[in-house]
């Protein structure tokens, strides 16, 4: 009896291990250090992010979460002050060796904390990326715009005012417009940086449902200041604190107290941060 149970357990364990091995690695980050001038914002970050998972990143303000995201998208080309060291493999490719960074950026959708409605109409905001890709056909564009706006839970509110300026929408609507725009890229990787700051709770819940569905099509990195949001959505979670990645782990495990560093539990339970 005991033997068979043990056997079953061993078997199950090796099963989970083998499925973990089969999971495709989307991002492999090693010894990543991001600094502004002399000051390091994050140092020596190491972990992997798998395809079709939602990877949560939690941590207090100034922990370096946004700096981490910027490094993934090579945003340092806009900020001469920002320096990135270490290796980032995207689909196994070192992103610092790519001949065409624009091809990489166009595969990564980014949603910033504060919505950025570009100074054009709602329709044009969402059609911009497809147009940059060379799609000119009106019917295809219409279809993409509608699908992306529906997925970002904005369609019903803007379907009658697609031709009004995107920057005239309310904050929460603009954030959903930003998400729709990111989706119009048909990204492999979707990065959300504290997206719910400017969004009301009901809409937040609706977007969360959408993210759960999107997971089947893309990899999602979700930086959030709401630890419960990470719990609801993330398969695995990393905890950042003062420029270091304290630990990464299975989200449920972390929230159930199976942590390597007690600071993680302290943060999750709201004892600081």
């Amino acid at each position: 009896m005991v033997d068979t149970m043990l056997e079953a357990m061993v078997q199950r364990k090796s099963e989970t291990e083998s499925t973990a091995e089969q999971k495709k690695i989307k991002l492999d980050i090693s010894d990543l250090t991001v600094s502004y001038g002399k000051e390091a914002a994050i140092s020596d970050v190491n972990f992997k992010i798998y395809e079709n998972e939602i990877f949560g990143i939690i941590g207090p303000a100034n922990a370096g979460k946004t700096s981490f995201l910027k490094a993934l998208n090579l945003m340092n080309t806009f900020d001469a002050n920002m320096k990135v060291e270490g290796k980032i493999l995207f689909n196994g490719r070192d992103i610092h060796q790519l001949k065409n960074v624009y091809a990489l950026r166009s595969r990564i959708g980014v949603v910033f904390p504060l919505p950025v409605g570009l100074p054009m109409t709602v329709y044009e905001n969402v059609a911009l990326s497809p147009r940059l890709r060379g799609i000119k056909d009106k019917a295809s564009l219409d279809e993409i715009v509608q699908r992306c706006l529906q997925r970002s839970a904005l369609w019903d509110e803007v379907k009658d005012r697609l031709d009004s300026l995107g920057s005239l929408l309310s904050g929460g609507q603009q954030q959903r417009l930003t998400i729709a725009r990111a989706l119009s890229q048909e990204p492999e990787l979707l990065i959300l940086d504290e997206f719910s700051i400017a969004v009301d709770p009901v809409t937040t819940m609706r977007i969360e449902e959408v993210l759960k569905e999107l997971k089947n099509e893309m990899t999602i990195i979700l930086v959030t200041n709401l630890v419960q949001q990470a719990r609801r959505l993330a398969d695995r979670t990393a905890f950042f604190l003062e420029g270091e990645c304290i630990e990464t782990g299975d989200t449920e495990a972390l929230f159930n107290g199976q942590v390597e560093n007690s600071k993680t539990t302290d943060y999750i339970e709201g004892r600081f941060g």
């Binding site: 495709k24 689909n91 490719r93 790519l98 001949k99 065409n100 091809a103 595969r107």
Partner: protein
């Protein structure tokens, strides 16, 4: 399986430089060349002007005579004297008066257009200001000669109307529209949320402008003013016509003066190329060039200083 395929395809994209990539690089190169050629032209002009004035600068240039003497007598055959003190005084007095007029006028107009006027009024005013900015300077000079001149003689009961006052007013009116236009752009660039945040604190309209909008637009407003100063220094035709063109250190605004630029414009055509007089005029050119440079540099430093605060 399909993901492996797309992944391979994706990886290929990262190595393929598309047409867009090459266009991007091409634009970068074109922009770089335009930027560099602007610098080359400026340096080239400076070198040319310096070369032309060099003979005088190295042979008979006397600092104390050039800047210290009020006698500009280049045509004196026995002992020509090249003192530009009076010319500097002429340019400075006219520009100073012009700014005294143009700064309050242009800032006031800009604040009215940007902060108070609405709808149609605003549109009409903007078009009008731009129209005024497009009036050629010789027209302004003409107004100085034919309208302002008799008006000043009449009102102030003075013998001549082509004076510092006349040129200062003309130059001030001339510089005001372009200054207004730039100042208005600076005010419009201040985001509305600043105004809303200040209004929410109970600030009056003027308090909102004075405490938040003007400080936020400081750089642009300063730029507008310095552009006006530069315009005053560089303006030639209108001051030539409205100052009376008499070498004189003015004792009051009712005196005639002569400006640096007007001197070059009026005399260069009559001098023999390479003669001493010709070289002196180019030396004045170098001087004007340096002054403009210093004004721009000061502006740049001030703007940087404001940014760092």
């Amino acid at each position: 399986m399909t993901t492996t395929q797309t992944r391979e395809a994706m990886n290929e994209q990262f190595d393929r430089r598309t047409l867009d990539w090459y266009i991007d690089k091409l634009v970068e190169i074109i922009v770089f060349i335009s930027g560099i050629s602007a610098i080359i032209f400026v340096v080239g002009i400076f070198v040319f002007v310096t070369m032309e004035g060099m003979g005088f600068l190295f042979d008979s240039f006397s600092f104390s005579e050039f800047f210290g003497s009020e006698y500009w007598e280049p045509s004196d055959e026995d002992a020509p004297e090249y003192g530009i003190l009076a010319l500097i005084a002429g340019t400075a007095s006219v520009t100073g008066l012009a700014m005294l007029i143009a700064i309050p006028f242009s800032l006031g107009t800009a604040i009215y257009i940007a902060e108070f006027s609405t709808g149609k009024t605003r549109e009409y005013l903007k078009v009008l200001v731009e129209l005024l900015a497009a009036i050629p300077s010789v027209v302004w000079g003409f107004i100085g000669l034919t309208i302002m001149n008799p008006l000043i003689i009449e009102i102030f009961d003075v013998p001549v109307g082509l004076t510092v006052l006349n040129a200062g007013i003309i130059l001030g009116l001339m510089a005001a529209p372009i200054m207004t236009s730039i100042a208005e752009d600076a005010l419009k660039a201040v985001p509305d949320r600043y105004r809303e945040a200040a209004e929410a604190l109970g600030a009056t309209r003027w308090q909102v402008i004075y405490k938040t909008v003007l400080p936020a637009a400081k750089n642009g407003l300063l730029g507008a003013i310095l552009l006006g100063v530069g315009r005053g220094f560089g303006e030639t035709m209108a001051v030539l016509m409205a100052t009376g063109h008499a070498v004189n250190i003015p004792g009051s605004v009712f005196d005639s003066v002569r400006a640096l630029t007007a001197t070059i414009a009026a005399e260069l055509g009559e001098t023999a190329v390479g003669s001493e007089h010709y070289q002196v005029l180019f030396t004045i050119g170098i001087f004007l060039f340096l002054i403009t440079f210093v004004i721009n540099l000061t502006a740049d430093l001030i703007v940087r200083g404001i940014k760092n605060q």
